[in-house]
């Protein structure tokens, strides 16, 4: 089980940006690095850190921090 702050830190790390560029309300279109390549980096982070394998079309769920939190809650990794 992880925390929202830790998830934010790790998403920022995956995107290669400073943690203060991301908060719990951030959406992909607000961060330049959160483009197609950035989304792939988040896919990789989810796979390596939590063993999450997304079903086809589920990367659409990775376009905001709220949706990433929801995905992790559903998978039982976030309280």
């Amino acid at each position: 089980m992880t925390s929202q702050d830790e998830v934010i830190r790790q998403v920022a790390d995956a995107l290669g940006v400073e943690s203060d560029e991301i908060d719990s309300e951030t959406e992909a279109d607000q961060v330049e690095a959160w483009d197609s390549m950035g989304t792939m980096s988040i896919v990789l982070w989810l796979h390596e850190t939590f063993g999450i394998e997304l079903a086809p079309s589920e990367t659409a769920e990775l376009q905001s921090m709220k949706r990433i939190f929801q995905l992790l809650r559903t998978a039982g990794h976030l309280a």
Binding site: S36, T39, E53
Partner: protein, 323 residues
């Protein structure tokens, strides 16, 4: 009866499209950033009027000239492309007389992308082992450049054109490798993520440019490629460390680097070689094989896993042992 890879050849069209040319067409793009993200500096592009059949036929002619096979002993011609000359007839039927293959030779196209070469090995081996064919000529070629929107960063930076040909037969004399088992897989739920929607019967007036959802394709490969290889290794009674070479479809550097890392495959066992060709779809694995053979990197006795994966979604992994 066993099946053997008797030869493999490839062909690249002459025209080069480099990153500087892409940037010239697309102000705001950055050539270094394209290379950093894709690992590709340039790709080869078929000329107007030059088709996948042309590229594949040149590769096949080169192969037949190099091997000592009697063309009358080729019993099947399999042509894999997603850029056929026409809706009909089957392009393979038009390649058969160009290669002066006998009229007894079966010929058909199959429509697959990046899994096409290994899928073709699956079918070819089945034809050989069952005794249905003495030799099978497997030609894989594509010209995705004809589908790419020149202003779509996701596709035009990635794809290049190429053709390749492999001869699979039951005669082991002078063969390059023994062709082992192939495992295949399909997940059509991902069909929309790599697609040319228009131009065929479903949407005849629809968009004819190639669409690729990069994150979706990457997500698919993370899940399916490792599982596919694991299934192949289980069927062949071997393990990851016992494989000497992994020859993957050359998709892009980001994907290959991360697949390699997540599967813990040593760098020296898995070549990445697309800097001057781009992603050449179903030709990429045989193109990699020809280049690795020229470099002397595929040696007698080595076991090898080939992994093709992509549009469909579709995947196929084959076992080879070099001789």
């Amino acid at each position: 009866m066993n099946a053997y890879l008797r030869g493999v050849e490839s062909h690249l069209p002459e025209r080069i499209l480099d990153n500087a040319a892409l940037v010239a067409q697309n102000p705001g793009w950055d050539a270094d950033a394209i290379f950093k993200k894709t690992g590709i500096r340039e790709r080869r592009i078929a000329a107007p009027g030059e088709t996948a059949a042309d590229l594949g036929t040149i590769a096949a002619e080169r192969l037949l000239a190099r091997t000592d096979v009697d063309r009358d002993e080729i019993d099947a011609l399999l042509f894999c492309t997603q850029s056929p000359d026409r809706f009909l007839p089957t392009t393979a039927c038009t390649i058969q007389p160009r290669l002066e293959l006998g009229t007894h030779c079966g010929a058909f196209d199959f429509n697959l992308g990046c899994s096409g070469f290994t899928y073709g090995l699956w079918v070819a081996r089945g034809l050989i082992v069952s005794g249905s064919a003495r030799n099978v000529l497997l030609v894989t070629a594509d010209t995705y450049s004809k589908f790419c929107d020149p202003h779509d960063l996701a596709t035009v930076t990635i794809f290049g054109d190429a053709g390749a040909a492999a001869l699979i037969g039951r005669d082991d004399a002078g063969a390059l490798a023994e062709v082992g088992q192939t495992v295949v897989g399909t997940d059509g739920r991902g069909a929309e993520n790599l697609i040319v929607r228009g131009g065929a019967c479903r949407e005849p007036a629809g968009d004819r440019s190639l669409y690729m959802n990069g994150p979706e394709i990457f997500s698919f490969t993370l899940g399916s490629v490792k599982a596919g290889i694991a299934r192949l290794l289980e069927q062949t009674g071997t393990d990851w460390k016992s494989v000497d070479r992994y020859l993957f479809h050359q998709a892009n550097r980001f994907m290959l680097d991360n697949l390699r890392r997540t599967m813990k495959i040593p760098v020296e066992k898995m070549p990445i070689d697309l800097e001057d060709t781009g992603n050449t779809v179903s030709a990429s694995i045989p193109l990699l094989m020809t280049r690795e053979l020229e470099r002397g990197n595929l040696k007698a006795g080595q076991s090898c896993v080939l992994a093709g994966f992509g549009v469909g979604y579709s995947w196929a992994m084959s076992a080879l042992r070099w001789r």
